[in-house]
Amino acid sequence: MIPAEAGSQNELYQAAAKVYGAALERLARAYEADADLRRDLLQEIHVALWRSFSVFDGRCSLRTWVYRVAHNAGASHVLRQRRTHQHELVGLEQLENLPDENSGEQTAGRRHALDRLLSLIQRLNPIDRHVILSYLEGLDAAAISEITGLSAANVATKTHRIKNMLARQFQQGGSGRD
């Protein structure tokens, strides 16, 4: 874990990058499908994180801070892209109503399941995307509530919906077990 006491901007950033580097890569993948743009976004997230540590005051945990800054950089990227690419972002409720593409056939494997999961996530609006990513990263409801600013009850409802939606979309054993 990252030491809670305030370090220098560089020390805090380096510690955060070491602990959350992989999570940030996964997060960038959920915000940008194109490999080149994703690499650029990842750099943007790291820069936002490094800059943010100049004003980090320790009022929330470092994990919450890192996820907040990273998600906001990702959401800003998506909203910027929206000005030029008019694909529609949807909420969880719309994804819940999507036809189950998987019914009646086995998912080819882990890669296919991951691609499908990413394509579902990349269609979500920013707040639902934050919730599902935080859930997939294994964060509990309290942490998700702190990161997103949603009430605990709202997070619980959204998480319940996410679980149902994922269960329905990835039934028939296509969740990644080869």
Partner: protein
């Protein structure tokens, strides 16, 4: 279902990552580029206005008749007004760091609403303030040279001016519609 949920989390967390390391040098370079972009964005707004004001000022000085000086003076005053309004209404702001998702979306929506208000009211702070210069120029020249040929030329020039104003207004209305769609989407997401 629990097994399903756990497997989804496992699938997500165990996906291969490249382990990309971003060097301190890259970060500092990009941060500097970011700061530079912000600075340039702010400066850019004023440079074009300063060039236009300098040109108008030059024409005011070299003009020999009072009417031209009054017209150029009015355009300079309009330009100054527009620059102030552009700064007040249209300049971009940076999002405060470390906001939670909901607050950041609200902040972003408020920014878009501010920008939409600015483009929707473009006629009041950009187009109308330019009008006195054109009106004084037209009326003054029509009085100075009361010939139908002059009036026709003035009318033609004003028609072009009005068409340009209409185009600017239409472009802004379209921009406002685009911003409105994004605002509605953000409202739904909240």
């Amino acid at each position: 279902m629990t097994e399903q949920q756990d497997s989804m989390q496992m699938l997500w967390q165990n996906q291969p990552v490249e382990g990309i390391q971003i060097s301190a040098e890259t970060i500092e370079k990009r941060a500097a580029r970011f700061e530079g972009r912000i600075r340039w964005r702010n400066v850019r707004e004023y440079v074009a206005s300063l060039i236009a004001a300098a040109l108008l000022g030059y024409f005011t000085v070299i003009s020999h008749d009072v009417l031209s000086r009054v017209v150029f003076g009015l355009f300079i005053a309009s330009l100054a007004w527009v620059v102030v309004q552009l700064h007040r209404r249209g300049s971009s702001k940076s999002m405060p760091t470390g906001l939670d998702t909901r607050s950041s979306l609200r902040w972003y929506r408020a920014e878009l609403e501010r920008q939409r208000a600015a483009v929707l009211s473009v006629w009041s702070w950009y187009l109308i303030p330019m009008a006195p210069g054109f009106v004084v120029d037209t009326v003054g020249k029509a009085i100075q040279s009361p010939h139908p040929a002059t009036w026709a030329r003035l009318l033609l020039m004003d028609a072009f001016g009005a068409a340009a104003f209409l185009l600017v207004w239409k472009i802004n209305v379209r921009a406002a519609r685009c911003l409105g769609r994004m605002i509605d989407e953000l409202k739904t997401a909240e």
